[in-house]
């Protein structure tokens, strides 16, 4: 039986080291899977998962996560992507992450704009764009671009054909490109 999230977070606040082992027991596989999908490398994925526990230890307190696995997932995804960015020159090719990045490149507007872009602003725009998507499309978007799932995995989970998932993703990318352009984001 896993400890519940409230207890784990309480342990982080109390600086009780059980917090890390409880997190690892409950969410270790989940975090490893996220890292592995980005890095396509077992050792690197394990390293990033461990680094996630450390970052979480440093982040709580002061932060108090509302949805603990989402909080952890965000950390491991960011650490893994940093790692990917540093090492991709020699390792690029073949993984889902490359396909995901290529697809995201389609969303980058080619219009001129007059608003300066920063990451916080971009995050807000993405929040509002994704928040406005129909529920099924939002799930498809998150699975593909947050969780880096393959189209076939998404199709299987949502009981859709791969063609339909691809078609939905294509439409979302087109909409997103327009949405970003309208809000002044430039390449």
């Amino acid at each position: 039986m896993f400890a519940d999230d409230k207890t784990i977070i309480k342990h982080f606040f109390e600086r009780d080291e059980r917090a890390v082992s409880e997190t690892s027991e409950k969410y270790g596989t989940f975090l490893y899977r996220i890292a592995e999908k980005i890095l396509s490398n077992k050792e690197d994925a394990e390293e990033c998962t461990n680094e996630t526990y450390l970052k979480t230890w440093n982040a709580i307190p002061p932060q108090r996560p509302k949805v603990f696995p989402a909080f952890l997932g965000t950390i491991v995804r960011n650490i893994s992507f940093d790692h990917y960015s540093m090492t991709r020159a020699e390792k690029r090719g073949g993984g889902v992450i490359d396909a995901v990045l290529d697809e995201l490149a389609e969303c980058i507007p080619d219009t001129k704009a007059d608003i300066e872009c920063d990451e916080d602003e971009l995050k807000k725009v993405i929040d509002s764009f994704v928040g406005a998507l129909p529920d099924r499309n939002r799930k498809i978007f998150v699975m593909r671009y947050w969780s880096n799932e393959s189209v076939s995995t998404i199709a299987g989970r949502l009981k859709m054909s791969e063609n339909s998932v691809s078609a939905v993703l294509t439409r979302i990318r087109k909409k997103m490109k327009k949405y970003l352009a309208e809000r002044g984001f430039e390449p």
């Binding site: 896993f2 519940d4 999230d5 409230k6 409950k26 969410y27 596989t29 989940f30 899977r33 996560p65 509302k66 949805v67 603990f68 696995p69 989402a70 909080f71 997932g73 965000t74 960011n78 992507f81 960015s85 995901v100 990045l101 995201l104 490149a105 969303c107 980058i108 219009t111 001129k112 704009a113 007059d114 872009c117 990451e119 971009l122 995050k123 993405i126 929040d127 994704v130 928040g131 406005a132 129909p134 529920d135 939002r138 998150v142 671009y145 947050w146 969780s147 989970r157 859709m160 054909s161 063609n163 339909s164 691809s166 078609a167 087109k174 327009k178 352009a181 309208e182 984001f185 390449p187």
Partner: protein, 819 residues
Amino acid sequence: MTRENLYRAIGKMDEKLISDVILHELEISGKASLIGNPDMTERLIDADVVKRKNRKIKLSFILIAAAAAVAVGAAILGLRRYKDENKENRIDNYFVEDDNFNYYSLSDNFSDFAHLTPADDGMFLSAFYSGPDPDEENDSNDTGSDLQQRGQYILKTDNEGNLKSEYCLGDSRILKIRRSGNNSVYVLAAGEEDGNDETFFVLIPDRKCRMKEKICLDIDNEEMMQISLFCDFIIEDDTVSVIAECSQDDISYYEIMYFDMDGNMKGKTEYRDISVFKFFESAGNIYAVCRNSERSFISAVDTDNKELVEKKSLKYNIESAAQFSEGNDEYDLFINFYDGVYGYRMSDNSLTECVNWLDSGIDRASLVSFGMNSSNRISFVYSENYWGGSLYNINSYTRADDETLNNFRNRKEINAAFLCTPDEEIYSCFNDINKDSDEYRIHIDDYTKYSTDDDISGMSRLESEIKNGNIPDMIFAGSRFDWLKYCADGTLENIDNYFGKDEEFERDKYFENIFDAYKYDGIQFAIPINFEIRCMTSKKSVTGDRTGYTCEELENIENNGNLFSDERYESVIDMFVSSNITEYVDFKSGKCDFDNKDFITLLNIIKRNCDSDDINIDNSVLETAVPENIKLFNLFPVCGYKDLRISQQIYTGEEMSYVGYPSSKESLPLVSSECCIGITAASEYKMEAGELIEYLISDYIQENADTHMSGDQILYDGAHFSVSRAVFENNAFRSMRGVPSVYCSSSGEKKIKLNEIDQETVDDLKNTVNKINRAALYDSGIAEIISEEFDSFIENRQTAEETAEKIQNKVSGYLKKLK
């Protein structure tokens, strides 16, 4: 911005947006099931971005509904009977996306799909092929065909969308595709031959799309000049019949032309008083769908005598149909209304719902053409970029299986009567609810399909439904709806009891005074989801800080009919009086106030300052009337920021003021909305309806609902102002930043760049909006009385005094009858 920036930003997305996906992932991995963890489940429910989906039924409103059921016993019983009788059939018309449909089979090679026509074993449609990709080796394509030539094609596919055959028409334009009896098609097309004038021709390909015959239609140049659109054509025995919409001297009319099989014209008939939309076949005869100014009807086409013979009258307004499609074994013709596809059968003159767009989650506004291949499959071409209008795709849906339908049947059905056409964003929000909710479904009855020239929203039909106890849960209607009558007779519920109850809802985030304008005798009978300002606009240098004029004051500044910029009598009496009914009528006490000096003065002002309907108004005069001080006031409403920019820059020429309509006092401008929502007292789902209204006015919906942009240009912002203060401010900011927008002059010759508005203009607007305390409200019965008596006054059959007296007496009688 790079793709990496984007990827990182997605990684920082709000937890609320990703949490349900993560929960699902954890569940299926079996490593950490969170089910049963109430804390987490609650958070995930809260986190769901589509809040409506997880709205929990609260005991309180079940009790309220029960109490209401006792209180309005008979009406509720009527409502329940209505629902039970109709629900089953409606739910059967729920279609789901066909996972087997091979979308890419066609879209990989073709674009600009159109003219979808069903066939027994698939469909025909037109499309454009841009030619082989020069960067790729020509290994043909995965359709197995051998596409070489760029141009327009007729395609034949199977039911799964796999291309079976194609025929290239080169540069010709495909105008219509029509199915022939033997599962083949006829094609009406246009092209240029030998550099001569455009030729219209009918192609008869075989079932594999190989050209079998070509008939060049003998239409002379003069005739051709008058044709604006080919609506339809049909071939029967030895005659090709073509419906064309024509125009001559700015007057539109219809023509049916008859050709022999060599293309020689056998004759034609002009129709000036009726519109002819579509041919269809039934039991070997040809019929046409027609409409005159009063009603829609079906006529037999007599090709020998070249005339139409009326056969059946239709209860729906066929003019409000978006498209038609060929019939199948069950129905003679399919008609796409706003709420669904209806099958028409000539034998019993019946129209039956076959596909419900809303249930099926299909955004019908983007539909270009459709075909019911069988009663269980619908394919359609739709436009993905509605405002850009250039990207056309196809899709296919099949009827939902029994398990899905049963699940759907168990949901609670909220019936919404639509007497207006709301923004597509709202319609698409309903689509989402029907797709996602496990608990509710919204069913729309689109009353505009019952509209007539005198009743553009189909209000009379709703009135008779209500009288019969068929009361919807919610009413969506514009300003020309009898809101006050239905408020006074108790049909409408006080929305305050069901709206804004959620602790997250902050009423002060909205223009509360705009909401309050839709209260009568303390009852919030409707909530507008957006608004426009009804007022007289003028130069601020002329009116100063005035916000209104009495009739007497207006008469004093009048100088030889210089008040209003080219307006018609009928529209001004409607604006000042019929649509401003709370100024003159008190529904509660049943009293009215027309027979007074101010009203008499107003009638005379209108008579002196307006024109009759017969006079053609030159719109370009409107652009100069106020700027050049020829007239004092423009009378068009200010709707949205683009409209404000046009009103100020083009129609006023300098800083603009907003002035209320003249009356016995200095009245303020009014608020009006093309989409207000009311909840009926008989509804079983008042609480849910209240939550739905909250959702529709949320920033989340409002942000997208009102402004449509393309790139860095506002294409369309003429709709309305948002009732949300935040969205209102955002749009102001955009207009102040000078997001480009263009005004096309009425002559169409000039394109004028609209200037950004300044802070002072926005402050003036906000000041005006904040002061508004009344809505432009209307009552059809009173409007009819006023219009009738006003006509007599304009035609000099009675004086202003007599007119005021007659209106007073008749409206008093009308109010007494209502009580």
